[in-house]
Symmetry: C2
Subunit: 295 residues, 2 copies
DNA sequence: CAATCATTATGATTCTCACTCATGAGTAAA
DNA sequence: TTTACTCATGAGTGAGAATCATAATGATTG
């Protein structure tokens, strides 16, 4: 079998012009190289080089093998460097899973500096998983999960990055607009707009409506946050979103934010990683950036 | 260092889905593979795979290394096959040296079937050497020499392929045209055209003129046989060429061929190879073809 | 033309490291 | 549970790779 070693010897001998010099470079004795090639020749029934005078001359087979070496060795050496990058955590693929639809813009603000800081890291964002984000993280579909619903397990580690409150968004002309807070009963006659996930994953149900055994008059879904806000602006329903959305681009929209219940629904966005990987430098780098710009 | 072996293991494990199966295919124990990769991981400070359930999952580094394996291993395997071709003599480079200018056309007739018969052999023809053809053969500049002047040595082996006679070519209107043979003195007043080589390598000198201590009135050279014939046709001089040239394309030219001296200059074309290489199959193949079509 | 130098080849010896064996530990299937 | 199958791991062994010493051979030099 042709081995990396044989190719390396051949290339080095060709470069330095002698077995002795090549041996020195490769940190073995001249004898070792001589033996190695002699054995190779014997195994393959072919001459690689011949002694001519005090030097060597490559045979045709040797010349050929040299071209192979010149082509293949650089590939392996590059792989070697990439592997070192992996070892130092400089390189990898950070597949980010998003379970928090409104966080898209926040993520964008993190991603920009991250990409320049870790140029060799593949960065990928996914929002659709086979099951939920936790499963995706456990199943190595993703490497980092952005979620408002952390589930501490022995395998996963979550770190909160910022807190927020879920509020009811209504049009400023809406009957409820004058209130500071709403109760579950207030929604009985409303059309509720949410992102398209199962009801068990909607806090407005699990922590607000269901405990009070209330349901909205109607429930519809919208794909994007923008669409949801537009629908609310058009008076086509009410929705539940993080409070900070109004403090940003939506601040000039004709929308009012109302607290849900007496104390509001308090949440926090968490970043989840597999336990043990939080020290991987390019993952740690992301966590650090996320903690810096909390919102 | 990344070694062929590591890549092979990774690829086989990926193909068969388990270390155990891969080990069987690679003719080692499962333990060996496990140890090998463990050592590799330790050396590089990196995980290649992780145990999950009863199977394995490649890490990112492992996935990367797998792509390297899929790319590099086929190259080495191809090199392996080529090397086998070399060993079996199916492949090589046949660098043919020509010391016989008029043989060009003869060589072409050999080359055509040869190229189809030995598709993997590089075929190259050289006519210019640093010194002479023998030196080129000894110095591995060429692998086969076509020459009318063989020099038997312990290192070289010559086989004659066909005999011919060197004749004087004159225009049919030339004063000598009526004779059957010419003597050295007949050339004293002629312009002699030869190929551009040293006089010692021209039989017309060494075997005809010099022994009789004669010289032509003038001596000029021409690069190609065609040009030499054209010059003779134009009555611009006489030349010395193999007799069979007239039996071919030159047969309808206004040229007469005269014997040189009483018994003529008899020659034969020889193929020379380095002793020991005559059994190399692609060289032997050429010799066989050459002997078949003698002219 | 010796004498010296510089190169590769080769035989004998040493020793490393890759492999095997035996077994443990974890997981999935029965 | 039990069984079956997987990979991991520690200890021991042997093949083969490296070394050392030296021969052989060709170049260089005074």
């Amino acid at each position: 079998m042709i081995d990396r070693q044989h190719l390396a010897i051949l290339r080095e001998v060709s470069r330095r012009g002698s077995v002795t010099a090549a041996a020195e470079k490769l940190n073995v004795t001249q004898s070792a190289l001589s033996h190695t090639i002699a054995k190779f020749e014997e195994r393959h029934g072919i001459k690689i080089w011949m002694k001519t005078g005090r030097g060597l001359r490559l045979t045709q087979a040797g010349e050929y093998l040299l071209t192979v070496a010149e082509r293949v060795l650089p590939q392996m050496e590059h792989a070697q460097r990439v592997l070192t990058d992996f070892a130092l955590g400089r390189r990898g693929a950070l597949r980010v899973g998003m379970e928090c639809h409104p966080c898209q813009r926040w993520l964008t603000r993190i991603a920009t500096p991250y990409l320049t800081q870790w140029p060799d890291v593949d960065f990928d964002v996914r929002t659709a998983f086979r099951f939920d984000g936790i499963e995706a993280l456990l199943g190595y579909e993703i490497d980092l999960l952005i979620t408002p619903d952390p589930v501490e397990t022995p395998e996963l580690l979550f770190t909160p990055v910022f807190d927020y409150e879920l509020v009811l968004m209504v049009h400023e002309a809406h009957p409820l607009a004058g209130q500071v807070r709403v109760q579950p009963q207030d929604l009985l006659d409303e059309e509720l707009i949410t992102v398209p996930v199962t009801l068990e994953r909607l806090d407005i149900y699990t922590r607000f409506l269901v405990p009070a055994n209330c349901r909205p008059r109607q429930h519809r879904t919208a794909e994007t946050i923008d669409l949801m806000l537009q629908l609310v602006c058009a008076g086509r329903g009410v929705t539940v979103l993080p409070d900070w959305l109004l403090q940003e681009d939506a601040s000039r929209l004709p929308i009012r934010a109302l607290r849900l219940g007496d104390s509001g629904i308090q949440k926090s966005i968490n970043l989840g990683v597999r336990r043990g990987e939080e020290t991987t430098s390019y993952i740690d780098g992301f966590l650090k950036l996320a903690r810096q710009r909390e919102r």
